[in-house]
Symmetry: C2
Subunit: 483 residues, 2 copies
């Protein structure tokens, strides 16, 4: 992580209300420095970005409207401009801190009173003066089109706001979704794309209000880096279903810097502590990193449907998700049955905890188990016959999809009707449940079975993943990024 | 119903154990009549069906094995033969009473020690002497191929066993399933086929052990006429999901007479009282008849998913099922929304109880309601886009299919995953729930909106049903069968 330019005084991410003003008046030294340099700062503003001046009346109006003293705000603006010699080409207007927007401002950008200064060091303003965002250059691996190989790429991370945690990434798991997104198989990818949402690393820096982490801690980030935190889903701790759209770890709108979020195929990441998870000390960090997606994706539905003792539970597929499904179902006490097309996986399935293994393209084996399952977790993300597995369920049994095959499932209505059965989907898990899962894994010493690779091997790893040639998750050793 | 030949003494359906023998020995007159006529009876046996003689040693052996006195059994056989002058051509071997088989006999016919005499009046013997089944010629309407029109047809009903109720059919509703089966659209039809499973009529006769009904009562029969009654589904009162296969009212194996069951497009039906339902006196009998399928099919899922106050509930389609879904959802207190493709049905939907009506092919209307439904009941049995309705559900909302479109649903996995949603099937209801539904309808005076037709109009009614040109259920006035 390349250290950015010197930081402007004032706690990043804090709204400058009367408390902040009082502190300023108490004589915070750096701000006085800004005051001294005010004329030069204004010149720099003019040179850097005419927007700075254009927004000044708006800023003053906003301050007055919010009963703030506009002078320190203007000084802060000058300070920011002073430390930012040039607005980099292509930097878009920053929409400011979403967290502040949530505090009551109009969520429609077109109707907000403010605009934001786009600079390397940024004052974000959207109806109130919200946060100072300082960017840091960060090494990463990216794809630039749906058919290009991965290559070294430089991305920008914000400097931690008051509630942010900066993490030096040690390991990042390789999820099948990474491949789907990198190759635009779900039709929603923007490039350049830096995948990776099974992130585990060491805390390198914390914002002033961070309480859960200190520098040096092991921390983790999964598929989510933000959400609105106020909707009914967020209030229930299911931020993955945020009604205003969660911010995914990559290929999502970056609510701080604008543009896109970039994932864990990189040397560092900055994430609000609310979306950063604690990792039990006893877990192997490389093996623990895929828990952030493969782990929670399987843990969540098994918990929601109360899988446990006395139940016959099927796990379809023995890949990154499936092998964790087997481990969790067995740990929860269910009679665990693995469905696989690969006879070569029978022994491994049993080693991982399966009581039985069914070769799913053997009609006779399938018929023997028809109508006998309480619950089936289908982890397969390739096209497959869902009716064959629905037929395995008993009355009121449930099959939960956690894979997302590219083509629609061909679901016979009769598969649902006779007898009454249930089909559901499940998507990762919310932050509280993800922490619960990590804590459970800590108590039961559960991690993923992994194969370590270097960042430079990612294209080859994707090809092997497509051939199911991995037991059972690739994990990138991010030290390789420095090679 | 053409009255059959005179009945042989001995309570039908009773196993002739020591109690029965004691009663016989007490001098039941008709059996003595049989004894008097024994020589003539044996001659008749010889003339009628050589099987009668062939089975005699088997019968004797079976009686001895079961510590029964073979003499009365032989007398019964003789009696049966005596009253049955000719075995009708094409009558298959009768497998006897399933109820008796369930009492502990080997369920595998190939391993049973006995065979059964096939005659117009029958002694059924399958390991024990079980029941005397006297057949009755019954007028009906049948199709004889997947493309033939309906025509008059004669079927045979058994004379009531001790637990049977014979019902003179007054009304029979016309269900879309009737059309599916008549035209072999589900690939499982055997011909001749007499559909009809929304049967309401007057009790004409009852077996000696019947307690729920007396002659003259209004009674009803739905989609089921029997089940094993011992499996876990049956024990839970969900006979429609009988693990040994329920006996459907038509196009199912007839456990009494062999061959097929025949449905309600007929003048009479004989059903075990356990599968016969009581109909509240205050309900219009014609309007009540479709409650037996359209009613319970919609009532059951709305009850299972606890639809009620504070919920936004959608009903897809305003046909026979849909109009009952609207009535029940509204009666249960839900905010009820009808989805229909027909603007002409808006007013009627509201009249039936819908708070709102959405024209489902109006994208703007659909978008306005996206993600807002707790529950949707999809009653459409034609192919349609299920994903459009999944998109209407909120987090953890459920869509239940009660229609069975001929082609597989094209279900996007993303429809299930974001946010987490549920898709289920539901199939009619068990006997206890069907009675509960009828009782509920009695208390709330709920019946179906119907159009009466004559039996002879059934082909035309099918064509109109395909055009959704019925408000909202055709009901056959069975008096027309006598015309």
């Amino acid at each position: 992580m390349t250290e950015g330019r010197r930081r402007c005084t004032g706690a990043p991410g804090h709204r400058w209300g009367t408390d902040s003003l009082a502190k300023l008046r108490a004589g915070r030294a750096a701000l006085l420095g800004g005051l001294i340099g005010v004329s030069g700062a204004l010149a720099a503003v003019l040179a850097n970005d005419i927007v700075c001046l254009a927004m000044t009346p708006v800023l003053i109006e906003g301050c007055i409207r919010r009963r703030l003293n506009p002078l320190p705000c203007l000084l802060g603006l000058a300070c920011a401009a002073n430390v930012a010699p040039a607005r980099p080409p292509g930097v878009s207007i920053d929409r400011g801190s979403t967290r502040e927007r949530r505090a009551g401002d109009d969520p429609d950008p077109s109707r907000r009173g403010g605009v934001v200064v786009g600079m390397d060091g940024l004052w974000a303003y959207d109806g109130t003066l919200t946060c100072y965002t300082h960017r840091m250059g960060t090494r990463a691996y990216a794809v630039t089109s749906d058919s290009s190989p991965f290559g070294a790429h430089s991305i920008t991370r914000r400097e931690p706001t008051a509630t942010d945690v900066a993490i030096e990434i040690l390991y990042c798991g390789v999820c099948h979704s990474d491949l789907h997104i990198a190759r635009n198989e779900w039709g929603m990818t923007q490039y350049p794309c830096v995948p990776g949402h099974e992130i585990l690393g060491r805390v390198a820096n914390v914002g002033s209000d961070v309480t859960k982490f200190k520098v040096g801690d092991i921390a983790a980030v999964g598929c989510l880096v933000d959400s609105c935190r106020t909707c009914s889903s967020c209030e229930q701790g299911m931020e993955q279903f945020c009604l205003n759209g969660p911010t995914m770890t990559y290929n999502s709108e970056d609510r701080h810097l604008g543009g896109l979020t970039y994932g864990g195929y990189s040397e560092a990441v900055v994430v609000d502590e609310a979306f950063t998870l604690k990792v039990p000390d006893n877990l192997d960090p490389a093996g623990a990193s895929p828990l952030l997606c493969a782990g929670i994706t399987t843990y969540s539905p098994l918990r929601k449907w109360n899988v446990g003792h006395g139940q016959k539970v099927g796990i379809v597929g023995l890949g990154g998700l499936g092998h964790m499904g087997v481990k969790f179902a067995a740990a929860f006490g269910a009679h665990t049955v693995l469905f696989t097309t690969s006879p070569s996986k029978v022994e491994d399935g049993k080693r991982l905890g399966a009581n039985e293994v069914i070769i799913s393209n053997d009609e006779q084996q399938m018929n023997q188990h028809a109508g006998s399952f309480d619950f089936i977790l289908d982890t397969v993300s390739a096209d497959h016959d869902i009716n064959a597995y629905m037929a395995m369920l008993k009355l009121d049994g449930t099959l939960v999809l956690v894979g997302a095959p590219p083509n629609p499932l061909q679901l016979s209505a009769f598969s649902m009707l006779f007898p009454r059965k249930h089909l559901s989907g499940s998507l990762i898990g919310g932050l509280p449940e993800t922490q619960e899962m990590l804590d459970y894994c800590g108590r039961h010493n559960i991690v993923c079975d992994i194969e370590r690779i270097k960042m430079q091997q990612i294209d080859e790893a994707y090809e092997r993943m497509l051939r199911s040639d991995v037991k059972y998750r690739f994990v990138i050793d991010m030290a390789s990024l420095k090679e």
